[in-house]
Structure formats: C-alpha cells, structure tokens
C-alpha cells in the first residue's frame, strides 16, 4: 500500500549529481499542423560527463540543445539545469540561469567582431555585473588556460579559426558553468585544427567539466564517453563508448 504512491512521489526527481536532466520533454511547433520536434525525451547528463549527441538534420538535436541551453522552453515536461527547473521560469530568470550555468561553443564561433579576445571572453561577466578589473583578470587566466595567453588583445579577425574557437571555449568557461554545450565545434575547422580543439575538450573533461557536444561526425562523437542517437524527436539509443578516442598531441 505504501509502495503504491511512490510512483508519483518526487523521489524520481532530478538527481543531485546531474548537471542537466530532462523528463518526458516535448517540443511542438505549430506550422499549420503540429510538428513534434521533441516527442517525449527523458535524459540525464551526469556532472563531469562527456556526451555526444548525434542524429540526422531535423532529428531534433538542435531543439534539444536550445532547451538545455535555456534559449527555448519545452511545450511539456521538465528541464532541470543544475537542479533548477527552467521551463516555468520567467524570461529574465531563464536568462540568468543561461548566463550562470551554460557555456556555449558554436560552429561559427560567434565572437563579437569589435571586441578583443579578452573582452569577448569577459562578455558573460559583464552581464553578471562583475567589476572591470576582475573581468580582465579572469578572462586572461582562462585565455592562458586555452593556450592564448599571448593573444588577449587581438580582435577575432586577427586570429586563426582554431584560435577563434579557443576564445569561444574560454568564453564558455569563464563563468564556470554547470555544462558546456558545443554545437558542431569542429564543423568550420580543418582536420588538424579540429583535432586540437577536440584535445582541448578532452582536457576540460579530464579536469572535471561537463561537456555536451552535438555533432554529425562519427569520429568526433567517439571522443565522448557516451553517444546519444536522436531520431525523429526521440532518443533512438544511448551508446556507451568503451574506450573514447584520445587526442595524442595535447596543447
């Protein structure tokens, strides 16, 4: 009798150890007729894990990334980011969670063209109200960490593609987020540079950061511990990688 109500009890709630978890999340767009971009996705990303998301275009992986990144809200279900349910939050609070808990790395880098590397990295701190000197110090520290300690005052157009992506990664790291979301981070880079970036992600993972990476390249995905295959808005299968691919030459 006592066990019967445990189905609805909150003990199946978000695991405190999860950086991100989704429960039965649906995202429906109404384009004349309802389109289910995500159709009942339940998923948890443990703290310190390295996960890749794969799937053909239109499978819903971008929608998944947007929901976790607090850029979009679920139509149904719950999304927990570092223990906070974000679906019901106001735009303002969701933006705050995004700034504090999420670090984005994009395929096209998305750096501010008129800001220097250090200013780009410090940008998230500007919106958190961190003082100017603290911003500068932290940005320089993180840039040094990604191997760009000597490029702090360069503008994006004075940097190579790989260097730009490092700046973007430094920007994602500077707020010490719960999770780093990388959307095709090597998509605009050549093979060798891509490898170096994957080496950087590998190092971040080794240092205990949580990484979620969307990619459509199998060899890239194999750097992760787990690959989530998404198809038609549902999780097709979760593949554990026995021995993730390692990048030999670290930066």
């Amino acid at each position: 009798m006592a066990a019967s109500h445990s189905d609805s009890a909150p003990d199946v709630g978000p695991d405190r150890e999860d950086a991100v978890s989704l429960r039965d999340v649906r995202k429906t767009y109404y384009l004349g007729e309802p389109v289910h971009a995500l159709d009942g996705v339940t998923l948890s990303i443990p703290r310190g894990s390295y996960t890749a998301v794969m799937g053909p275009s239109g499978s819903g992986k971008s929608t998944l990334l947007n929901l976790i990144g607090c850029l979009d809200t679920a139509s149904e279900g719950e999304v927990f980011v570092n223990g906070t349910e974000v679906s019901e939050l106001s735009d303002r609070d969701r933006t705050r969670v995004r700034g504090d808990e999420i670090g984005f790395v994009f395929q096209t880098f998305n750096l501010m063209p008129k800001l220097t590397a250090a200013e780009n990295v410090a940008l998230p701190l500007v919106f958190q109200g961190v003082s100017r000197s603290d911003r500068r110090d932290r940005a320089e520290a993180v840039l040094a960490e990604v191997g760009l300690g000597d490029r702090t005052d360069h503008r994006p157009n004075e940097l190579s593609g790989g260097q730009r992506q490092r700046v973007a990664i430094a920007r994602a790291l500077v707020t010490d987020p719960a999770i780093i979301l990388a959307d095709e981070p090597t998509g605009n880079l050549d093979q060798e540079t891509g490898e170096q970036i994957m080496g950087l992600f590998q190092r971040l993972h080794d240092e205990g950061h949580t990484v979620l990476m969307v990619t459509h390249e199998r060899p890239i995905a194999e750097h992760a511990e787990r690959v989530i295959h998404v198809l038609d808005g549902t999780i097709e299968r979760v593949e554990e990688i026995e021995s993730p691919r390692r990048v030999e030459t670290d930066v």
């Binding site: 705050r96 995004r98 998305n110 940008l123 109200g129 100017r132």
Partner: protein
Amino acid sequence: MDAAESFRLSWRAIRSHKLRSALTVLGVVIGVGAVITFVTLGASLQADILGQVGGERTPNVYVWAGPEGQNGGPGAGAQPVFTERDLDELRALSGVSAVVPRGIVPTAAVSSGGDTVAQRQVIATSPASFDSASFAAGRPFRQGEREVVLNERAARLFETQAVVGDEVTLRLASGESVGAEVVGLLNASAGGGPFAGLDSQPLVFVPTDPFYGTTIESPETGETQRVYPTVTVIAEDFGAVAGAKTDVRAYLDDRSDAAALVPDDYAFSVRTDQDLVDQIEELLSTLTDFVTGIAVISLIVGSIGIANMMLVSVTERTREIGIMKAVGAQKRDVLQLFLLEAVMLGVFGAVAGVPVGILGAYAAAEYVGLSLVFPLEWFAIAVGVGLLVGVVAGLYPAWNAARTDPIDALRYE
C-alpha cells in the same frame, strides 16, 4: 550591466561606423543649430525692440477711440471724440496729474528762413506733453501763444537748420498762413510718444490754443468745444497707473461726451505703456515661435535620421545581439545598449548644435545689426531635447533589439 560598460560598448558601436554616425549626428546638429539660431535671434530682436520702447517707460495712460476689434498701434483709426469737458473731468480723477490732448492740424507746408518744405500736418498738444529732459534747446511752448516746438528731424528739414528764436510760417490746409516762433528743439532720443509710431519722422508741435480748430458742441453742456482724437492721461506715479486706467475707462463708458460722440462700432482703447510693451512682446514671441517651429521641423528630421540609423544598426548586429543574449544579456541590457547609442548620438548632436546655432545667430545678427542676447536656458533645453530625441528615436529600434529571439539571431547571416 554597469553604466560604464554600457557607455564603452555603445561608444564602440558608434565608432565602428564613423561616417554613418557622423552624418546622423549632423542631422541633429543642423536641427538644434537652427532652433538655437532662431531662438537667439528672436530673443535678441525682442530685447532690442523692447529696449527702444520700454526704456523710457512713463506712468501714462493712452486713450483713443478706434474701430472695434482693430488691433493696430496706439491711436489707429482714432476719431475726434474727447471734448474739453472730458479732459477736465479726467483731470479731476484721483491719481491723475495731467491730461494731455493731442490733435492733428492739417497743413500744406512749413517755411523757415525763406525755405518752404512740405509738411502734411502738425501736432496740436499741451505743454504738459513735454518732458524737460527731452529738450536739446529752448523750452516748451506756452498755451495761447504762437509758438512751436520742433523735433530734431523737423529742425533739419530746412536749408539752414532751424534754431530757437527763428520765425516759421505754417501754411494751413485751409490756405491760411500763420506765423509762429520756434521756442524749443527736442533732442534726438525724444520721440513723439506712442501715438507717433516708432520710426522718427519730422514732427512739429504747436499749442492747441490757438492752432487747433476742430470743435463740436458738447452733448452735455451744448457749448462749442475743441475735440481731440487722442488723449494721454499722466498718472501721479507708477503705482497710480492701474487705478487711473480703471477710472478713465469707467468715466469714458459712463458719462463722457466721448461716449455720446463715438460711432457705434467704435470702442475706447485705454492702454498703459506696459500694455503696449506687452502687446509688442506678444507679437514678437508669436513671430519667434513661428520661426522656431520651422526649425523644430529640421530637428524632427534629424531624429528620424537617428531612428533610421538605429534600425539599420540593429539589423546589422542581429547576430551580436544573439551572442550577447546567449551569454546572459537580459532584454534590459540590450535595450540599454541601443538606447544609449541613440541618446549619445542625440546629445552629441545637441552639444555640437549649440555652438553652430550661436554662430548662425551671430552671423545673422551681424548682418542685420542686432546685438545678441543669449537665451541661456535654451542651451540647456537643447541638450535636453537632444537627449529626448535620442530616447524617442532609439526606443523602437532598441525595443526591437531587446526582443530579438536569440535562436534566430544566432542563425542570422
């Protein structure tokens, strides 16, 4: 986001497209400059004219009967309605120190020293109309004597300038010639009073007795009396002006000969110097407002320039807005950035527009020979307007930027 960082980011955005920003600011500079120029000119013109009119303010009340609703200057369209009895009654009012009638004696010409010049009229008045300070030479005429007073322009009409003691001959419109002695010359600054207008023309003053011949039978007493078109009531002091004005009007409306004589659609005008100054001031500010209104149009065009540039700027920087939002910028932060950019453009324009406007006013004042009076509060207003223009022009574009969806913005090419 703190204000200093907002300023830095907005300033960088402005600097990143210098030419476009400069042209946009130029629009506001022209607008604000035009407003400042015209407001300064208006204020200078007003000060200049009021300095001329209001400088010699007297405790006088000017009375005449003109066509109803006519808004002309003092004495416009005045009909001779004020009889000698009216003057006596007015003199008896409390607070009145003197009552000076003024009439026109039509003439054909005036001769002096063998030189005859055309003169359409001479002014018949009483000695009380002269202020002893306004004489360059001589004294006022005496009532009942054949004496004249000339103003400076009138004295210079003759080949040999008329001096005190000269004999002049007035050739009246009736064809009769009357000799008189010049007893006084007015100095250059003495005008003919408000009834003579602002510009200085040759004026010849004569005593009403014996020169003024316009008469009528008083409706009250039946006696034949002189009747005058305009009367100046001089109050004892400035404090008595208001009371005298009220009493004069009450008397005129109530029991005066003038009330009986005045044509039906004529009304009495009872004005003080202050009323005249106020009237001129009102006229001038209407003129200034009108011209300023035209300048404000150019300011509006300038602000449309800001709005236009900001809209383009927001579209161009859609992706940057997406980036900022992705890394935690609130709507308010984005709104603040773009609004600040617009406000900075507006304020720069206003601040640069003020000296441009002053320069414009200076050039125009030099051209027309006005001395400049700077309406200082307008400079503050100009900067305020620049601020306002920035806010108004920037609000919609900034709001557009603030509500940009970060997902779309990041995908924007």
